[in-house]
């Protein structure tokens, strides 16, 4: 559905996007990650038809953005960064304007679709209000309603939950999740739990270059294992004993948690069995033994260092 090859775009001396490749298949929801200034917004703007690339090819729905930009814009739903909206328009006026600009159909069809979209975005109660009077959460929903009004098969969302409080953000996330399966979605964000909540796959870019493109579950697998061990009392020479286990590369702790003493072991392999055997043979009161899943934050941090 979306295919980006060798994409490059510069602003003066700065290459905002510098040779990015990725493709997104039908029905996928892909998280587009990167620190601020990584080139996410620039990439989305090129896909949405707001910016031209300097080089590289962009194909959306099998259409080339250089020759079929208008057709792409007709079929893509786009929520720009910061969600700009016409403040003086009422919600219904705004959606009707988009409807007319997209030349979607008669007034009757419009009324029905507007009702449908307002219901799915939770906008019924504010449909007659000026957009300028709405809270940020509602504004975001208006933006999303505008992006899905024409039932596009491809959705480009640029930080759809930025600046929202946790409850508003969850509502917007639920809304996006409800579109899953029917649409191909590329969602830029730097809120990592959001990616966990919504996406199947992540594309991470940093300084305009691609640093990762894989399913979320594969991303967590790496060469280093982190294991948390808890004991009910403070060990004498505990550090040395744990460090002696084969494969252990580093040890943190102990840190106290209530009456427990917690160590974090970094190892080249899964050493939980060895830790258990050590505890059993020395009669150490083992209360916790757990392999940590690497958080997306850590992965993100490593990749964008």
């Amino acid at each position: 559905m979306i295919e980006v090859r060798e994409l490059r775009k510069n602003y003066g001396d700065l290459w905002a996007v510098d040779g990015v490749d990725f493709s997104i298949g039908k029905g996928e929801i892909v998280g587009f990650l990167g620190p601020n200034g990584a080139g996410k917004t620039t990439t989305l703007r090129i896909l949405a038809g707001y910016l031209p690339q300097n080089s590289g090819t962009v194909r959306v729905l099998d259409l080339d953005n250089k020759t079929d930009g208008l057709k792409i814009r007709r079929q893509v739903g786009y929520l720009p960064e910061n969600n700009p909206l016409y403040e003086t328009m009422e919600v219904s006026e705004y959606l009707s304007f988009l409807w007319a600009a997209r030349r979607l159909g008669s007034a009757q069809v419009r009324q029905n679709r507007l009702k449908e979209v307002a219901a799915s975005c939770g906008l019924e109660s504010v449909i007659g209000k000026d957009i300028g009077e709405l809270s940020k959460g509602y504004r975001q929903r208006v933006g999303l309603a505008g992006a899905i009004l024409h039932d596009p098969s491809v959705l480009l969302l640029d930080e759809p939950t930025s600046g929202l409080d946790p409850i508003q953000a969850r509502d917007v996330r639920d809304l996006i999740k409800s579109l899953k399966a029917r649409k191909t979605i590329l969602l830029s964000t730097h809120i990592l739990p959001e990616v966990h909540a919504i996406c199947d796959r992540v594309v991470i870019i940093h300084k305009g270059k691609l640093v990762a493109d894989q399913p979320l579950k594969d991303l967590a697998n790496s060469e280093e294992y982190v294991i948390t061990v808890g004991f009910a009392k403070n060990l004498t020479n505990g550090e040395d004993r744990l460090k002696d286990i084969e494969g252990v590369t580093a040890l943190e702790g102990p840190s106290r948690r209530g009456h427990e003493f917690i160590y974090r072991i970094r190892a080249q392999k899964d050493v939980r069995r060895e830790v258990f055997e050590l505890a059993a043979s020395k009669h150490l009161p083992l209360v916790e033994l757990k392999m940590e899943e690497k958080s997306l934050e850590e992965i993100f941090h490593e990749l964008t260092r």
Partner: protein, 249 residues
């Protein structure tokens, strides 16, 4: 029932811009100022020298328009750039010319509305005396063409910046330049003076307001309008599509 489905993108954009302007207090403040100033120049000869004549008022309208039109057009593109809403417009399946021309027509409509309100002055004269309706009609037609040119200059200026004040000043300076051109020809040697005279508004407006609808004068205003509309069109097209205008993109 007419549905917007059948109407082109130009109409959709024009309608949006027109109502945005009419829903803001700005339009009414401008209308009030316009009527106040024109009203003063209309009533002064009427009461002071008992003359039922629209000429003194009509001669001033172009100068007032040079000041007024940039105030209407300054938000046209600049505000969309500033508020970021241009990104919405640009990513809709609209062609660039539909956006630019739509915005242009909206401002022409708003200013023509202000001009239309002044029809009350010649109508008053009809009650009091016997105005020369040929001259009146000619003046109005001339001024509508002038509005067409000034609005294009305004949209052009608005497309250069995200700052409305800057847009106003650029449009005003440009418009005032054309306004002044016909008034300073005595400082230039022939044939330069003729060229400058032809470039300025004055000689064309004079012809029309005398009741002479010469196609050269109409072509003058329309070419001026087209020229100043093509400039923002090219600029935006380059920004969005990275190339000069190309049909269907």
């Amino acid at each position: 029932m007419i549905t917007t489905h059948h109407l082109s993108g130009i109409w959709v954009v024009a309608k949006k811009d027109f109502w945005e302007m009419m829903n803001s207090p700005m339009a009414y403040v401008l209308y009030a100022i316009f009527l106040l100033v024109t009203g003063y120049f209309f009533s002064q000869p009427l009461f002071m020298i008992n003359q039922a004549n629209v000429a003194p008022f009509m001669e001033l309208v172009p100068l007032i328009l040079v000041f007024l039109v940039p105030a209407v057009t300054m938000r046209s593109l600049a505000e969309e750039f500033k508020a970021g809403t241009f990104e919405i417009l640009a990513t809709l399946p609209l062609k660039t010319y539909e956006v630019v021309v739509g915005k242009y027509l909206a401002s022409v409509a708003v200013v023509t509305g202000a001009l239309g309100l002044t029809v009350v002055y010649p109508v008053t004269l009809e009650i009091l005396g016997d105005p020369d309706w040929g001259a009146v009609a000619g003046s109005y037609i001339g001024n509508v063409f002038l509005v067409a040119a000034l609005c294009a200059i305004g949209v052009f200026a608005s497309g250069l910046t995200r700052n409305q004040v800057v847009a106003y000043l650029i449009a005003w300076v440009t418009g005032f330049g054309f306004f002044l051109a016909g008034k300073v020809i005595m400082f230039f040697p022939y044939p330069l003076s003729d060229v400058i005279n032809f470039m300025g508004f004055d000689c064309h407006l004079q012809n029309i307001s005398r009741g002479v609808l010469d196609s050269r004068d109409l072509v003058y205003f329309l070419s001026l309008a087209s020229f100043f509309l093509v400039l923002p069109l090219m600029r935006i097209e380059k920004k969005l599509r990275g190339a000069s205008i190309q049909g269907n993109r």
